[in-house]
């Protein structure tokens, strides 16, 4: 019985999968396979393999079954109760359950992408070093140590044009060469996995789905720069990522891939996980280092840059998880190959977390330079509930909103900045006609104000003042001069803040004022919210011309405040209404105002 003949059952076990019951599904597969003696019946070994996230988290639990007869077949929304039937039909009787198969959009979702960094995610068992080695694992570091000088490794990365994937977009090769040029024989390497942007989770998925790939990326960087100790700074909110990475590190030590004289190659590298404690600002490099040292995570002025004086005063190089994820592919396939992907200024691929009011939320990896329209409509299936697209928010709380008119902007660092947004960590939050842009700005500002470390005044006090103004506007107490004040404040805060948090925090407001000024004006002058979103400005009544008498609002209402009979217009009983707005979201015709 040869290995490739075995039947493989791949079960998605990222955070999304586990919370939808992937563990139970796996247990059910193992139990039923054993009980029924399926191995003997089909004359082949059935391997149940847990994998990392494969992107389409909204459809979890995803199960792939690979058999010699049918090839790869994907089932979605699998529940533990269905496992017996799937085994019976698919594996024993060898007939694909067409009804339960993932719909064609799953293939569309997968085919429209280009997976480089995420090749391993969803294909291999993240806890198994052997599975990683089968996928050419640790080949890249071996190639570096055996046939390349550290300078050549840096040149290869420079040639690839790889830029920091954490948001800033600084050329990675340059960063490495700065740190290498710093004097001193003790240098630190840090992997920044403090992924705090709400709506972005690619770093988590990489750590959960392919932790060895990140370790190898760090080993290559350590060899090139001459670092002997590495930290991975992971958010405390990602317990599964911490657990899988810790397991991978332990195994690497056991098998001699970490520690002194790795594999007899003469390379020393130690690694440790450092857990964050819930502070967004710690994603900023100087704040992150302060946090590792055991202080409040507050940023400090640069220079000196970390490459010169970093952690505990030693030269330090910090890169994002996704950046390290790219490194091994660059070494394996060459810098020229990597540079051939993407656009003039942004090379390679980028992972985006597409969320919000889009049909298929999830992680997508596409070549840089793809149009935002293609990402939303071709890969992710367009807007949910057939509503009208309004804007997409790129780059999290530091980014900006991109309206429908410039949806053909390519996703690369420079085009997005030109459009008033930024790549950021790669979160794309899609908004439809029911999302109020003033409310979204208020939301982001509230987030950045809470997360400001409080060290410098423009950020600490300026953001608070801007937030007060925005709250006033959403409550219908806006004044005519407010828009100009917001713009003035925003520009001042951008110029005067110390670190990236303050310098980018006004972006969401400035970009929405730029593209959606009429919404601000409607709030201020007419005391109306055009998207029917801001509570204080709602009339709590049904628009009779728009109501199609469907009754969706009645079903959504938790307190029976909607009076509706079949074929009748809905009426909202203001006495009973608790103003939760469930009906506004349920109505597909914007018939409540």
């Amino acid at each position: 019985m040869s290995e490739n003949e075995a039947i493989k059952i791949l079960i998605c076990q990222g955070t999304g999968g586990v919370s939808m019951g992937a563990k139970e599904v796996e247990a059910a597969f193992v139990k039923i396979l054993a009980e029924k003696g399926v191995n003997a019946i089909v004359g082949k070994r059935c391997d149940v393999i847990k994998t990392g996230c494969r992107g389409l988290c909204a459809n979890d639990v995803l199960v792939d079954i690979i058999t010699p007869e049918q090839g790869r077949v994907t089932y979605d929304f699998v529940k533990a109760e269905e496992v017996e039937k799937i085994i019976e039909e698919h594996i024993v009787n060898k007939t694909v359950m067409e009804k339960r198969k993932a719909k064609p959009y799953y293939n569309q979702f997968v085919d429209a992408q280009m997976r480089v960094v995420m090749t391993g995610c969803g294909q291999i068992d993240p806890d198994s070093i052997d599975a990683y080695k089968e996928e050419d694992g640790f080949k890249a570091i071996e190639k570096c140590v055996k046939s390349m000088k550290p300078e050549e490794v840096i040149d290869e990365v420079k040639k690839s044009g790889l830029r920091g994937r954490g948001g800033g977009g600084f050329p990675t090769g340059m960063k490495w060469s700065f740190c290498k040029a710093s004097p001193g024989h003790h240098k630190y390497l840090i992997c920044n996995a403090d992924e705090g942007d709400p709506g972005a989770f690619m770093d988590r998925s990489l750590l959960e789905g392919d932790p060895y790939c990140i370790i190898e990326g760090m080993m290559i960087a350590a060899y090139a720069i001459g670092c002997d100790f590495g930290y991975v700074y992971v958010r405390a909110e990602y317990p599964l990522a911490v657990q899988r990475l810790q397991h991978a590190i332990d195994v690497c030590y056991e098998k001699g891939y970490l520690g002194k004289n790795i594999q007899g190659w003469g390379l020393d590298f130690d690694m440790r996980i450092k857990m964050g404690a819930g502070a967004f600002v710690c994603g900023e490099e100087t704040a992150l280092m302060a946090s590792i040292e055991g202080f409040r995570g507050m940023s400090r002025p640069r220079p000196p840059f970390p490459a010169v004086r970093g952690l505990w005063g030693y030269p330090t190089n910090i890169n994002n998880v996704e950046t390290f994820g790219n490194v091994r592919h660059i070494i394996n396939k060459g810098g020229d190959w990597y540079a051939s992907l993407g656009t003039e200024t942004t090379k390679g691929t980028k992972i985006f977390a597409v969320t919000g009011k889009v049909k298929h939320t999830g992680l997508v990896e596409v070549p840089a330079g793809m149009k935002i329209r293609e990402v939303i409509y071709d890969v992710c299936g367009g807007i949910a509930n057939n509503r009208k697209f309004k804007a997409v928010q790129a780059g999290g709380p530091s980014g900006g909103c991109i309206p429908a008119e410039i949806l053909d902007t390519p996703v690369d660092y420079d085009s997005l900045i030109k459009a008033g947004a930024m790549m950021g960590s790669g979160g794309l939050v899609v908004m439809d006609e029911t999302t109020c842009m003033v409310d979204v700005s208020r939301f982001f500002l509230n987030f950045t104000r809470e997360e400001s470390c409080g060290k410098c005044v423009p950020c600490r006090i300026g953001l608070k003042v801007m937030l007060d103004i925005l709250e006033r506007i959403t409550e219908g107490r806006g004044e005519a001069t407010d828009i100009a004040t917001l713009q003035d404040l925003g520009i001042a805060i951008k110029k005067a803040s110390l670190c990236g948090l303050g310098q980018t925090a006004p972006n969401p407001i400035l970009s929405t004022i730029n593209y959606f000024r009429e919404e601000y004006e409607a709030h201020i002058n007419d005391k109306r919210c055009p998207s029917n979103c801001c509570k204080e400005l709602l009339l709590w009544q049904v628009v009779e011309e728009k109501c199609v008498k469907c009754g969706a609002c009645k079903k959504a209402c938790p307190v029976d405040a909607i009076i509706w009979e079949k074929g009748q217009l809905a009426v909202l009983d203001k006495e009973k209404c608790t103003k939760c707005k469930s009906c506004y979201d349920a109505c597909r015709f914007m018939a409540l105002e």
């Binding site: 999304g16 459809n59 989770f201 988590r204 409040r296 505990w312 938790p558």
Partner: protein, 170 residues
């Protein structure tokens, strides 16, 4: 701290077993940058950082209590007061916000009569708003301890509360 306040604080704090904290300190004492791992360990052990434990850590790691207090109040993960048996977390990240997280938060406020980062007097519930749990595909999202509840509605809040109201405290 005035005497009366100190006495009041002493009355509120139950007896703390310091040997657990000492064990954690022993584990990390030689590690550079050990303050955060020690505090995280203590938090896991006690559920919060009692005053006496903070003082012990200050003494044994040779850092000022003021620095410890600074760290404890800076990071959202650390708590200075005992926490509830069931910790309710509602995600208010971007994706959840546009899908209606605010009404989920308000309904919880309404039902258990506590606000953000507060604990009910009977120590049954602690409520927290959190920014992004990383499962945006299931927005809006709520968590009670380790159980995740996706696609939340106001109705589901009722179900969750009545379920957890019946669970034993021990």
């Amino acid at each position: 701290m005035s005497e009366a306040v100190a006495q009041q604080a002493a009355e509120q704090e139950p007896v703390i077993d310091l040997s657990l904290a000492n064990k954690i300190i022993d584990k990390f004492i030689d590690l550079p940058g050990n303050l955060m791992p020690v505090l995280q360990g203590a938090q896991d052990e006690y559920g919060y950082i009692p005053r006496v434990v903070a003082d012990l850590i200050a003494e044994r790691l040779n850092v000022y209590p003021s620095q410890i207090y600074g760290v404890l109040t800076f990071y959202a993960q650390f708590h200075l007061k005992p926490r509830g048996k069931f910790i309710i977390r509602v995600c208010v990240g971007t994706a959840c916000h546009v899908q209606g997280a605010p009404r989920i938060v308000e309904t919880f406020f309404d039902k258990i009569k506590i606000g953000h980062a507060e604990t009910t007097p009977d120590l049954r519930y602690t409520f927290e708003k959190v920014a992004c749990l990383g499962a945006c595909g299931m927005a809006p999202l709520a968590m009670v301890n380790d159980s995740t509840y996706g696609a939340m509605t106001v109705q589901k809040v009722d179900e969750i509360i009545s379920d957890y109201n019946q669970r034993p405290m021990k």
